[in-house]
Symmetry: C2
Subunit: 440 residues, 2 copies
């Protein structure tokens, strides 16, 4: 291993979409300060995209340009390949080919890592190269490095995160501007915060991708999308937002990652959190993560979780991190998944979790209704914390809102099933979990 501090480290960028354009902008604006921090030259040598003609607001003429990524992989001068095309294929094949050519890779591809991570990680290790993926979770927030390095003396006990900006924007609009879900989604689409097909964001899949990556790093065992219990926000009614407010809560699409003994809870769902908590104050397209470590206690990170420049900041941080290793003639300084050896942990099925719950029943407004509902809850050992019954009838039905003390999810599901069969109930009961022991 030899130091090569004066030779430039060369980067090839594959995919010049939004984030890729941001990366080019960072190189154009901040090359000087970046090299001042590195102490050696760092060069963006190649850009590759199927469409190089489109006006991106950046001048690509000073780079080698190609529509064929193989030109980059076959250039022996390229040290680091940046994959920003997204999606599983052909991103996966490109990355693995880069590994095989002994190139380090930086990516923002959460779907790939959460769905095919096991193979990708294995291939990186086999080839002795590094894979940077800071940009895959929470954009500009440096959560990956903090988990892998800054908190490395800790057993991570839990992470609570607002890690999907689109869902958070919609929920914020619903609350602050008294909108229905549908209107808020439309507004998010108009403002560019939601895509034409918003499914991945509003159904919680994007957050679940990120949660799987975070759990992998936190617990040293590979988790994938299928391990994450996922519920989106599309069934949240404006009425729920209002009732939550009345109860002192705000509804957030929360990612919850917890380990107790060797058992992991991994879930993404709308959640009532206390309006006084810092996470409840995270508005619009911002992201935040509250991490509990057994040594450090609670740490919160807060910032823009998406967008061209915040995400580019994370991509370039990874590039510079790997470049420092290259300059020092080393690699794999920090294990890819934070831990050198993988651990055996088991996943707790959602039916076995304990939670407090918010329930909104749609019931006939007549005597004995409350007694029937609460009787069934009692049968399943679910104890009620508070009840709100008020408001106007809708087709003869009134909303009855309850919050419960901690109960077993399986019991709760059975109780709701039984309640929903009562002839006094007019529509399926809405169930939202409550998380109220947040420090932040």
């Amino acid at each position: 291993m030899c130091e090569r501090t004066k030779k430039a480290v060369n980067v090839g960028l594959i995919g010049v979409g939004t984030i890729g354009t941001g990366v080019v902008k960072v190189f154009q604006q901040n090359q000087k300060v970046m090299e001042k921090k590195l102490g050696f030259p760092l060069k963006l040598k190649w850009v590759c995209d199927l469409d190089l003609e489109r006006d991106r607001g950046v001048d690509l003429s000073s780079y080698n340009r190609t529509t064929d990524y193989l030109h980059i992989l076959e250039d022996p001068e390229v040290d680091i390949v940046v994959e920003l095309i997204g999606g599983i294929h052909p991103a996966k094949e490109i990355i693995i080919e880069a590994f095989e050519k002994k190139k380090h890779v930086v990516t923002a591809n959460k779907a790939l890592l959460a769905e095919e991570g096991e193979e990708v990680f294995k291939r990186a290790e086999e080839n002795g190269v590094d894979l940077g993926f800071e940009a895959s979770v929470a954009g500009g927030i440096p959560i990956i490095k903090v988990l892998k390095e800054s908190l490395c003396s800790n057993n991570i006990l839990s992470i609570h995160g607002i890690i999907n900006g689109t869902a958070n924007y919609i929920l914020t609009k619903m609350e602050e501007e008294d909108m229905s879900f549908e209107d808020a989604l439309k507004k998010a689409q108009e403002r560019g915060y939601a895509e034409a097909d918003p499914t991945l964001d509003i159904e919680g899949v994007d957050a679940a991708h990120k949660a799987a990556i975070l759990a992998t790093l936190a617990f040293g065992s590979i988790f994938s999308l299928k391990d994450v219990y996922t519920e989106g926000i599309s069934h949240i009614k404006y009425a729920d937002v209002l009732f939550a407010k009345e109860l002192g809560y705000r509804i957030k699409l929360l990612s919850i990652i917890k380990k107790k003994r060797q058992e992991v809870e991994l879930r993404v769902h709308p959640t009532l959190i206390p309006v006084t908590s810092s996470l409840a104050g995270v508005r619009g397209a911002y992201n935040a993560l509250s991490i509990l470590g057994d040594v450090v206690g609670h740490v919160m990170l807060y910032g823009m979780g998406a967008g061209m420049m915040p995400t580019a900041s994370a991509v370039v941080a990874d590039i510079m991190d790997i470049a420092r290793d290259i300059a020092k003639g080393t690699s794999n300084r920090v294990p890819l998944l934070a831990h050198k050896k993988l651990e055996e942990v088991s996943l707790k099925p959602i039916s076995e979790i304990q939670s407090k719950y918010y329930l909104r029943f749609s019931a006939l407004d007549k005597p004995g209704v409350l007694s029937k509902i609460s009787g069934i809850l009692a049968k399943y050992e679910i104890s009620i914390e508070s009840v709100i019954q008020k408001g106007r009838k809708e087709n003869g039905y009134v909303p009855i809102v309850m919050t419960t003390h901690e109960a077993l999810e399986a019991s709760m599901k059975k109780a709701i099933e039984e309640i929903d069969c009562l002839d006094i109930i007019g529509a399926p009961t809405t169930l939202i979990r409550i998380e109220n022991n947040l420090i932040f």
Copy 2:
């Protein structure tokens, strides 16, 4: 340079006070998970303290124990020396001696780095060793690594921080429990949040130490305590806390670090910040920092800024960081001060800053008073944003509270001087700066 992944990296700890005891606890509780993350053995070999008999609640018998730090410096097996005795002397001499014996050093010593940093940094570089100081600022919050690495593609534009837990605890108590400064200080001392001599904390010196270190990393030019304009909180009255609340603000001891062009503002003083900002929600002994980078935008970090275990988490993160380099046979991977070359920047004198101000006059309750005060402010081109005049007389004087639009500090100081000479004024005017363009 050779990899020595299987050989243990050895640590010698000098100073087993609160933080030192925390470091021992981390090694005793989490050695297994730490080594799983490193992939090689990490051993606490030595502990050194003048008093090794005192009961610290940890068993030191499995380590080599000494009252003479030279035993550690002279042990060729020791790779990393951890200095946790605090204070300038003999900490400085011990650290420099360690450098000369080619040992890497980890320290939490903010006073040393802020007052004698230039020499310490130089000596580390001369000897080609690393110096970790994550624990010197904001305890368990990984601000140093985030500035040096995660945000390395950014020009840092500003940092706003609540980085003294004692002052924040006192201000929180004053507001939440309607206390005078004196009573809140007493409570902080009873609860162990303030020392018997609280001067460094309440007069802003501790925060100024940390601000100097942050500015050094942010701007790549060495700043020291003397460069920081520093005002403490001991003159803040309960009345100011109440008036601030009425105006929609909360008073915090804020560290403000800004660069515009090549000019740096570096100041620590009580500050009115909007009650709706996230920083205003930072209560008790917590710390938080809001960083603005030209690429990433705003990022906030939040957590315990002091205390045995949070600070030990930061110390051990540094130990593990340096151990990874040792295992890879490298060092100085990231420049000590984030930047490889130091930059020329100039310090903006406090008299030249622009700020909004909160002013509390103590004035006779008679006609023409407001006109005299506002006449003098107008003369100095200070325009008034709001006025509150109410409340009971104290010795014939009433409080008049004003907030101003942005004004030049020098003009403000001259205006106050002139106003305080008026015979209608009963006591020196209280001036508190306002920072209301916070994102977090």
